[in-house]
Amino acid sequence: MGRFLLKRLGLAAITLVLLSVIVFALAQLLPGDIGRNLDGPFASPAQVAATNHQLGVDKPIVVQYGKWIGRLARGDLGHSLEYQVPVSNLLGPSLGNSLKLAALAFLLVVPLSILGGVAAALRQGRITDRTITVGGLSLTAVPEFVTAIVLIVIFGIVFHLLPTTAQAPPGAGFFTQVKHLLLPSFALVAVLFGYIARIARAGVIEALDADYTRTAYLKGLDTRTVIRRHVLRNALLPTIAVVATQTGYLIGGLVVIEKLFNYPGIGQRIYIAAQNKDFTMLESGVLVIGIVYLIATLAADTLYSLLNPRIRYGAAE
């Protein structure tokens, strides 16, 4: 296990370096320059050049990248070119916000999807199965901004049941924050439920057909015990992998949801940084999301190996 972790950490470091180089290079292709963005269209060219020089963006790309990597090695994420404050001051709270939303969305969608997938598999071919699979697929097919707007209109505007903005007032307690996050979480559940439920369903169907399941029944175990002890452990392995791959989307890919619910998450932060060519914020933001994504997949792989002794024993051999 130790060698496994070390190998994965090494690969993760290489992945992050490559990611940072690619993002830096791609950002150069974006139109505009930060000096013009900050000073506005009516500033003189001399003013814009002075701003660019002050921010250091008129230096060669390799020099800019080198400076950024050097600061990063000292644990310094740099200063936002746009706002002139440390990147960590803005990125930290944004990441925290995204983690809160992702946590609530996962808390809702994972048990719901697994229950739905299991229920569909156990009643394969019947009304329950059809409702869950077709309904889930339909919800997944609808773009998240459409679902979000429908939820906002019904629950927020017509019935005033839930707030339309995801950001709770400063100093709000735990339950108030959760209340504000419910509508965006529901929108995310709608997007993810169909996919995860189908994977869970497929895994359960395969496990139900397996020899070891038949043996468990023949041994005299009741259905609940068979499902809990034998079927789920095997059926959920692919589901864990799928859930882990959604982490990257939930942490950094929610630009539309964050815009619609005015939630200051990391997705919006990076989107605005890309628009305004705030390289420092963009690079650091992408790196942070990359780290979160790698941690999530590492955790998923570890959990996978814990649940599946064959992988553990195969690695040991």
């Binding site: 139109p31 505009g32 009516f42 001399a46 003013q47 701003t51 339309t164 950001q167 007032p169 060519k277």
Partner: protein
Amino acid sequence: MDQETRRRLEEYRRNQAGPVENALLDDLLTGEVDRREFFRRATIFGLSTSAIAAALAALGDAPLAFAAPAAVRAGGRLRVAIIPPPAKSLDPHTYQDQGGLETGGIAGEFLTRATPSLTLLPELAVSWKPNADASVWTFKLRPNVKFQTGQTMTADDVVATYLRLLGADSAALSAFKGVLSASGVKKIDDLTVQFTLDTPTASFPYLTSSTTYQAIILPANYKNGTFEKTPQTTGAFKLVSYTPGVGAKYDRYTGWWGGSAPLDGVDVTYYTDDAAVTAALLGGQIDLIGQIQFATGRPLFGNSSVQIFAARGATHRQVPMRVDLHNQLHDYRVRQAIAMTLDRPAIVKTLFNGRADIGNDSPFAPVYPSTNKTVPQRKKDLRTAKQLMAAAGHRKGFAITLTTEQTGEIPQLAQIIQRSVKAININMKLNILTATAYFAGSQSGGPGGLGTTPWLNTPMNITDWGHRAVPNVLLNSALETGGVWNAAHYANKRYDSLVKAYEGAIALKDQLKYSKQIETILLHDTPVIFPYFYNYLAAGSTKVKGYKADALGQVYLSKTSLG
């Protein structure tokens, strides 16, 4: 007129009024200006209330009635949405976007304040006076005004603020260019500042008002980068916390010279999406949106729980057509023909539900008193348009690309133009860029002299322009030969000399004389289409009282209350 009123007026005219003030009083008494216009110009020239009252009484008018403010409910925190967020740090002299000016304007104050009807009210200056030709302006400051740091405001602070506004990194340079230089700002005594202008400018006080949103008065020892860290303005609210892209918090300033604002404080949340901010107001999460547009905020209109605040102004779009390229647009008849394909009343109805003034292809917005309304309004006239195209040798039309930015209703305007010019066989392709790409590139040098940026160099484009209290900057920068924002690359010496004459004219009748000639030339040459000047709109819940929309978008909350 009773004896006392006559005595006051004559004493004022003899001892205090200069040539400018006396000329204005003559205009009123001979009927050259009406009561309303007199009142507006009197505030620009800094006539005192008693002088205005006496002059109006001389006409047999009822005395000026200053209604006592209605009783308001004190208390509560107003939740305001500002869209979009400020793009950079909050140093007032660098404001160049809506988010910055609204954020700073809640806490900051100016020497004078522009009202929705374009009059000027005293704020940190109590009076102002021009010399004979309006080339020197003397401002008397309000005494005993305290900054939120505890310092008392003096002329040193005002001088330092204006020197900052005239510095190399100021975003207000374009407003002051050719009008005021650093050497012209002088302290006379602790409560008097004198501005000696580069050019006589009758409208100079507007440059000291809230219309020049960078001109927030700050202490002389103000350090860049500290606006969001330390409350240090003079306004009714102090900025106590700020998170870029997220929000800001203001508390009532108990040392405000104006007394006590009704609200305990203001909580600002920044938004980037129109649908989100509309939903927030309808859902009750916010009380006031600083700026809305009809095109993107339709659910708010006609909703009984929402009130719309409107201010008529000069915010507009310009559609320049480059006159210097060797293409079809070089011929003024083609440009006129394109302008004549537009059904302007229908455009205003579609895009603004009627909340806009129709433009007549010049910077003279209908809201300006100096706009000469005797110049005929251009209308849709396809017959004449086709005749013009035939005379220019383009009966069969041609292909052209219209480049523009994804801002507000501009993409829809572009589509309307594309459809309209089909009637004269013009095949128009649309190239709609993000605002970042549209304003990217250099603005000087190159073959055309205006660099490479699309908004100043493409054959035909649409650009958004903000409100100005007077059209001077638009006349200069956008249309004068060599103007820095002259996207049409228009060059007409007669036009240039008329603009200079207009800007130096003090009497309204002289301004109207020059504006008529300018409007006529521009209608003939049509280097730029000005389709409309739209109202500035804000929206709030019905609980919000005492709030007025500002043509520029200032969010002024010192007299606002909740209920």
